[in-house]
Amino acid sequence: MSIVETIMQYIGAALILGGSVFCVIGAIGVIRLPDFYSRCHAAGVTDSAGAAGVLFGLCFMSAPLIAFKLITILAFLWLSSSVATHALVQAAYARGVRVENPRVKDWTHGQETSAKKEGEA
């Protein structure tokens, strides 16, 4: 095994472990954060940083074809999960789901009526 491969494996291992850590952190966020929108953010961390870490890390360990598939998965994942979250948040907002975090000004409250109207249109 050449030095280059070894270094690649180290980088890969580091990325995988880093991605795993991001996943767990994000998951804790999904549990602990107070309202829907901030939980969305936490879930997003697992889907972006977590997924990227794990999948890029695996890329470093694998043959070109496998790496290509991994990149494809990552591309699909990034596109689909971010879009799904976006659509979901928009729907939730239109339905008047509130921000619960007391330290942030609840600006949904003021616009609730117009949001409701839009949602029913």
């Binding site: 699909f76 596109l79 689909s80 879009v83 976006h86 659509a87 928009q90 249109a121």
Partner: protein, 341 residues
Amino acid sequence: MIETNSIALVFFAFLLVIGVAVTVQRNLFAASMLTGIFSLVSAALFTLMDAVDVAFTEAAVGAGFSTVLFLATLALTKDTEKPGVKRPFAATFVVLLTGGALIYGTLDMPAWGTSEAPIHAHTASYFVTHSITDIGLPNIVTSVLASYRGYDTFGELLVVFTAGTGVTLLMQRKGLFRPGALAIPPKSRAPYVREMPVVRAVAKTMLPFILLFALYVQAHGDFGPGGGFQAGVIFATGFVLYGLIWGPAKLQPIIGGRPVQGLMASGVLLYGGVGVFCLLMGYPFLDYSALTPDHPVHGQHYGIFLVELGVGITVSAVMLIIYFVFSVRPRVGRGAGELGP
């Protein structure tokens, strides 16, 4: 093995939690989503148990298509369940009896995973040892599926066809497939058109790749997990995505009515036609050696390719039709006792 077992144990715990959640959840939208996740986790468990083809199918069908159907149904029916159960003690008794009998039956089964179990000793050993020379494909599952037990698969295709026929009979309204039958009145345009532009753009980008991936799965089934059935479902899923975002009225001119119904039958006829061709050549039904009598192995390859194609065509057509007739069904008002067509 300890690794496998511990991961399996965690998966089982997930499945139990999800199962209980499905049972107690009275919001049926949530219950359907949880069932989808149940399928996804069980598919992961199948992978762990080396059943990659089964996992592929379960993910595409159980987690994907079934869930979409459940949701589409719930959009048409009442979506919360009334509290309370029917005959809880009788049900529990039946379930305990059945489960007890099954557990009693496992007591004489060989330990999980032993390679000496009789199930591995007899026919399976033949498939593992000889399918490479008999048929010559790396994926043993495909060899068994399409050739050794090709008739079962033919039956399976007919099951799909039956479902397609049945759902169409039950749900299709007259003139549904006529062009313009689904013209959207301007007032109710909102639900589709108002859909977020970002979603639309991304879906449009992904669509060709999904269809391409389906073709890849179709062709690659001989070499790895995949095959006609999985490809058919994924192909249909691409169109389902299109229908979800642009609405069935936009989907209808693309898939057409009669053409899809024709495809539904033609996949079955392609599969059966290959068999009948063998029969006419003087070989038994579905003996693909008849395709190239000089080189039986080549015949097997051609035969498997053709029948997998037939499976793919019928499955995608049936899935599309089923989704389509569900999604265009108008929602009935609450308590309306009117009859259907």
